[in-house]
Structure formats: C-alpha cells, structure tokens
Symmetry: C2
Subunit: 287 residues, 2 copies
C-alpha cells in the first residue's frame, strides 16, 4: 500500500534532454524519474512553484565559469528551498552515429562553449571543422537523425545513450577541473522529504544570502557570528548591488544544520547585523 | 620629438573584432589603438608576456554570469599586473544590412548566449527564427558580407559600426543589469604608466589572491587584517581548491593604494596568516 502511494518524481530542468542538469538529476534521484526540460531557468522555478513538477534541478556554480547569479536571484524570488546538492564533472565526449569512424570525421557540431573547451582537440586535428550548434545534446540528436557519416557532436555520455549514438573519444575537454554544482529544490511543504544521498551521519550545509550596510568592517562583523561559534564556512561571495554603490549582497554556505543550537545562535547574531537575510536551504553535503 | 617617441598601443583581447572586450579597450585607452584579436584567453596573456602586445584587456566578472575563473588562473600564472579596470554594459542590438526593414526579418543570427539573453524579443516575434552563430560580432560580418535581406544579427554597437551595418532595435536584452568588468594588464616594467582614467584624486583599488589553512575562522582572522585598519573591501569570493578538500582560494579587492602605510600593514598582517598570497595589481577605481 505504502509503495503504491509513492508519488512519481517529475523533475524540471533547463536545457534539452541529455543536458548536464539531467545527469545531476539522475545522480540525486536515480533513473525512475520523469524529466521536464524547460527553455529558461525561470520556467524551471515557475513549474515547481505551480506544482507542475515535484522537484527542480538547477546549476549554481561552475569551477571555470563561476556562480550562476541568475539562479541565486530566482532562489530569492521564489520560495523553493534547497534540499540537496551534487557536483557533476563536465566531460565532453566526441560522439558519432554508430557506424562512423574517426577518419571519416570532417565536421564537429556542438554548443560554442563546449567547442571552446576542446581547443586542444581541434589543434591536433586541424582538418576537422568546428560548427556551432544550439545545444550539446541537441547536436547529437541532429547528427543521428540526419544520418551524417562525416560529422560528430560534442556532448555528455547521457546524450550519447539517449540518442543511441557512440562515444568515439571520451573526455576531450582541455581542462578536467570542470565541475558544476547543482541544487535540488522542492516546494516548502515537500522539503522535509529526505533526498537519497542523505546517509546517516552526513555533514549538513546551510545556504543563505544577506546584505550589510556600507560601513568598513561590516563583513568582518557578520562573519564573527560564525567564527565565534566555530561554524566553518564553505563558500562566500560578494555581489555588488547595482544602483546602490558600496552595498553588497553576500552568498554564504556554512557547515551545520539549521536546528543545531550553535547555528541558531549564529543566525540570530547575523540577523542583528544584516539588513536583509534569507535562508535558501539546509541539506546534506553532496558528493 | 617626445610625441614621435610615444609608442603605439597594441592591445590583445579574446574574441573577434567588435567584441565587448574591444569596447572595454577603447573605453580605457581611446580610439588610437591597434587591436589584436586572439582565439583563447591564454593567447592574450602569452602575447603580452612575450612583448607582442603593449597591453591586454580581459573580462574578469559579469553581473549575471559571475567571475571568469580562467582569467584569475592566468593572472596567477603570468606575472602581468592589473593597471586599470572598467565596466561595460552588455547591450544587445538588433543589427541589419543598411537597406533591410524590420518587417523583412525572418532569421536572427548570434552567439547562443546572446540569443538566450533576448528571449523576450523572440517571444514577441514568434515568426522570427533564432540561428546560433559562432560569435556576436562575426554574425554581423556574415549577414552584411552575404547580403542577407531577410536576416538580422544580435551584437554590440561597435560591431554594427565596424561592419557598416545598421542598428534597427537598441538594447533588446531581457535584463539590463548585465555588466562585465574588464582589467587592463601590462608587463611589470610598463606598469607604472598611468592609465587615461587615473584622474587626480581617484580612489585606488588593490586586487589579490590568497589561501588559508583549513581551520575554523581562518577567513575571519584574515579579514581582521583589513577591518582592524578600516580598509574597505570591494569584492570577496571563495573558490574551492580541487583535490584539496576544505582548502579555499580567495579573491579579494579592497580600496587602497599598496604604498599607503595602513595597506602595507594590512598586507604584512595577511601574509602572516595566509599560506599563499599574491598581489594581482593596484589601479585607479574605474567607471
């Protein structure tokens, strides 16, 4: 009875099927989920907010490209708590139709960002032309559907599987230190459901956003709230507030559960000093 | 004699002619400069390092997309001090050949990132197809050279001027809070040349990178070096060091000249606490 009542997961994400967000969603929730691709990040948040999805997976930072400020903005606007995090290594693979050999390739399609992250490959193979395409996963779909015998795509392993294509060369990206961190979001009423990766004894993280008044040492005093209680920070980033010179928004992640006494005290202390403070979520530290 | 001896500026940047980096270079150095487009950020740094350019202009952060970590990495690897900064508002314009009317447009070419930042325009004009192209400025060059009468491009004002094209609609981007901050770099021996925008009485900024040991409160203690001397911070960002869990690299900008007594003391104090500390440059605060 209990089993039948288990609601199927419908997970919203930005991009085409086979995108890296899909890989993150599967890492967080397994394979038995329904994927809801959306055109814009805002659509992803709206879809969850309106109950047309049971969860949403969004990228929040990349080791090479930095924080996705747009999603921090949406996290503040929509009341959708973070309930889990995970990191996905961005691996670019050279993908072809099943019968195509490397020597036949004359053109490679992919998103320009992916093409630009594989410049060593193109330097080593100067006879192969780079052709920009709208989407990494979409380029795999296109070369297989069109039946191209002299073309390849650059995309994730998931995209190759999805479109029944073959990986000719794994991991052709220039820089292997290319990871994207993703958040799983729920509606507030569903946020007590524990994610799969919440092993017993896991460390917890809390994410928040705050602003301070423009006085020298304001951030120093704000961090005292954590340092004086031995709460360790995991991320800090300032973001200038446009139109309000010298005012900053800070993104902060720290290690700790929001219901522990020292974290409660630290947050009360921070609230005294901050003009604006918003908790974005408390979740088990992800792999 | 002195005038003739003035060396012509040859400025390296990443991208095609008409890129936003070119706009930043002109804002910093005026129109009388020779522009050296490069394929990769690394090429930009190398070109300056080897003396094949007199300066380099590189993006360091964007209000929507975050910090350009790759360029922070290059700033640490190459010894090329920051000597100036500026901010450029990223404005996307709808650009056509001189004789083309809006009603004739059926297709719009641009870099996918630019296309994705103009989604409201495409929602309002559903009959117009979005076609991804390698480069924003390059898409203007292409539609003018090919003589397309039913196509437009999305790019900067500079690109429109450069390829003798016409701006049909200004500023069609969804979010106007889209700014990119650029640095001007020199070789160490040239770094005493004052940039144009160094007005008398300008505020100065210093940028540095440091790491701290993994102890709770390490960042708090590091910031004390500045807070105790009333030195104001302008940016702080942590970046996890891959392969070294719980160790972080911090990017920090503060207001102050490196030769002032309080800044000297703050840096000596920080050096006591940091495992690694590197000054990236000291420069007049830019507009």
């Amino acid at each position: 009875m209990r089993r039948a009542a288990k609601r199927a997961e419908r997970i919203a994400f930005q991009g085409e099927r086979g995108a890296f967000s899909e890989e993150a969603a599967r890492k967080l929730l397994g394979r038995e989920i329904t994927l809801l691709p959306c055109a814009r990040f805002e659509d992803v948040f709206r879809r969850l907010k309106e109950g047309r999805a049971t969860g949403a997976v969004v990228p929040i930072e990349n080791t090479l490209a930095g924080s996705v400020h747009e999603n921090y903005d949406h996290l503040q606007r929509f009341d959708l708590p973070i309930v889990a995090e995970t990191s996905v290594r961005i691996v670019h693979n050279l993908i072809v139709r099943k019968d195509v050999k490397f020597s036949a390739i004359r053109r490679v399609y992919s998103h320009p960002v992916a093409l630009n992250q594989c410049l060593d490959f193109f330097s080593e193979n100067p006879h192969i032309e780079r052709i920009p395409f709208y989407d990494t996963a979409g380029s795999v779909k296109m070369i297989t559907e069109e039946g191209f015998t002299d073309a390849a795509a650059i995309a994730s392993r998931v995209a190759a599987e999805l479109y029944d294509a073959r990986i000719l060369k794994k991991s052709i990206e220039d820089d292997r230190q290319n990871f994207t961190r993703f958040f799983l979001l729920r509606r507030p009423k569903d946020s007590r459901r524990l994610p799969r990766n919440a092993a017993a004894g896991a460390l917890w993280k809390t994410s928040l956003v705050f602003t301070t008044r423009n006085v020298p040492g304001a951030l120093f005093r704000a961090l005292a709230a954590f340092a004086l209680r031995d709460v360790s920070l995991a991320k800090i980033e300032s973001r200038p507030l446009r139109g309000r010179p010298w005012e900053y928004l800070f993104y902060l992640d720290f290690l700790g559960r929001i219901d522990s006494p020292e974290v409660r005290n630290a947050l009360d202390h921070l609230a005294e000093l901050a003009d604006y403070l918003r908790i974005l979520g408390c979740y088990p530290q992800g792999a």
